[in-house]
Symmetry: C2
Subunit: 338 residues, 2 copies
């Protein structure tokens, strides 16, 4: 028989992994009857949390991990700097891991970290992460996780986010106020927390200004720049001229710049562009790029501070809450009506 | 009495740390008499390499570390991707550490890694690293280091570099061929390996075209963007008009763009700019930025491959050699005569 884990218990009991995890941690959220049923099944199957991991964890490693999905994104670079500034103050080392948007890599890293290597984890989940069992188990094994940016709302812990919905609304409204009526949304994902919120902000702005939402104006980007380039090209070559682009991440905006060059479309005259980005060359681009600037440094610093507060008082569970830090719209040439 | 280390032995014997290190490893480079003198002193003072570190090291961690000085530099981002691609193939984890150009941080990281946490290190040294004892000791403790980009020639190991001298010569020559006669060199450092080679390439090109070298045309950049901005502004405000900038790292070129905007200088009409850079937005800048593109991905991958080759055959010492991978000049609008 294979090792009994949270997932096996959940399957056998026909409840979610999250419910099993909470019951085993004696959470008030789970009813007594359910709790009893889960504990009995856990005993019956011989489930136990990894004792080696738990033992190792008592010996402080003075190290925390930061898990990010990609590096070619100025947002994550600033998050790293923010987290490092706090880790440095605390005399902790910060290990940086990159999942390259692959859930397998993420699972391997999470497993690798459960041997006492680190005291806690700061992370933004990968694009392909849809099942959170490995994260539930990590917390179950007493290795705390603080999420930032791309969070798992299903998991009880602290999440550091920006006002994705409101910022996406403001960015889309900004395009509308500058004359756009046929705005495309370049989406990073239709299941990631940030993807959903930014999409909803876009929808809400269209709605406010009585602009009919068109399914075909939403382009789901991929991890391949070549694919993105090609699908943006198709989008901008359509008969019904797209006149505004709201990109959920900066690399889609840069691909848009390339495509416009090839198609001889002028930004902002033919098409206006705005995106979520912390690109430090935004001012120098031709034309300069309008951005929604996320408080990336602050988000990294707050995530680290939250984790350290928890580590300092070992007993307290990380509060199940969202800490929201606001983004700022930086209108530049790419989105302003001439 | 404090712990006996390589430095103390070196001081007492009035030889270099490197000589002590080589003698203790029974290198053929050290004469028998010197070797004997060093071994006797080591015995007398009770020197021994860290046994715990050595013991731990036998247990493979399946992890290597990559130590870089800064993150806000597209060169290092691509190095990370290159090293990761090889580590992934080998099923190794790659830990990323950032020194923020501080030697104290670098020493702390190197010390932190000598507890079996990693099997080997890939690194580019910090700007402020002038004494290499911590690196000598690391190798002495059987934790191998492969250097890339910013290397320590004093240390016997493999170094992955680009053709810094030739590339700097070509970049400077390119400016001269485009009409520049009063070219400033923005230097990252006057003691780092890459700083010296790039400076010499610049000198050689001036020399070839009979342009007199002016001391005041060399600006030593600092780690502070504000300071760099201010000294570039002073440089470009001088009476004898600077007509070309060769920047040894990309952030100096970006600061130059900002200063030119403030001073109403037009690139490339008033001043031409070229720099070492792997900036992925170089094409989109206004004007597009001419760069010396380093083979960053290949350098990271080669550094990792070299380390793994060594780890696979435990007994063989890393060859004391330079592996040179060539850079490419990408001339764009910022340096071309109209």
């Amino acid at each position: 028989m294979s090792k009994v884990d949270l997932k096996m218990l959940a399957t056998q009991l026909n409840v979610s992994v999250s419910t099993v995890s909470k019951a085993l941690r004696d959470s008030h959220e789970i009813g007594e009857a359910t709790k009893k049923r889960i504990l009995e099944k856990a005993k019956e199957l011989g489930y136990r949390p990894n004792p080696y991991a738990s033992y190792m964890r008592q010996q402080k490693s003075k190290t925390i991990a930061l898990i990010i999905p990609e590096l070619n994104n100025s947002f994550f670079l600033q998050v790293i700097n923010g987290a490092e500034s706090i880790a440095g103050e605390k005399d902790y080392h910060l290990l940086i891991y990159i999942t390259h948007e692959e859930v397998e890599k993420e699972m391997s890293i999470i497993k690798h970290l459960q041997n006492g290597r680190v005291d806690g984890i700061l992370m933004a989940v990968a694009l392909t992460t849809k099942d959170y069992t490995h994260l539930e188990e990590c917390i179950e094994n007493e290795l705390p996780i603080v999420f930032f940016d791309r969070v798992c709302h299903e998991i009880e812990t602290t999440k550091i986010v920006t006002d994705d919905f409101a910022s996406a609304f403001t960015a889309t409204e900004h395009l509308i106020k500058n004359g756009c009526r046929n705005i495309a949304y370049l989406s990073i994902s239709d299941h990631l927390s940030i993807g959903i919120k930014r999409f909803n902000g876009y929808l809400e702005a269209l709605n406010k200004y009585d602009i009919v939402f068109k399914e075909e104006n939403v382009l789901k980007g991929s991890n391949s720049e070549t694919e993105n380039y090609s699908s943006i090209k198709t989008l901008l070559s359509r008969g019904d001229k797209i006149d505004g682009i709201f990109a959920s991440v900066e690399r889609f905006a840069l691909s848009t710049y390339s495509v416009c060059k090839e198609l001889n479309l002028t930004i902002p005259d033919d098409i206006k562009v705005i995106c979520f980005s912390n690109l430090y060359t935004a001012d120098f681009l031709s034309p300069s790029l309008s951005t929604v600037n996320q408080p990336a440094f602050e988000m990294g610093a707050t995530a680290a501070e939250t984790l350290f507060k928890h580590l300092d008082k070992k007993k307290i569970q990380l509060a199940n809450e969202n800490i929201v830090i606001k983004s700022t719209l930086m209108a530049r040439e790419s989105s302003i009506r001439n």
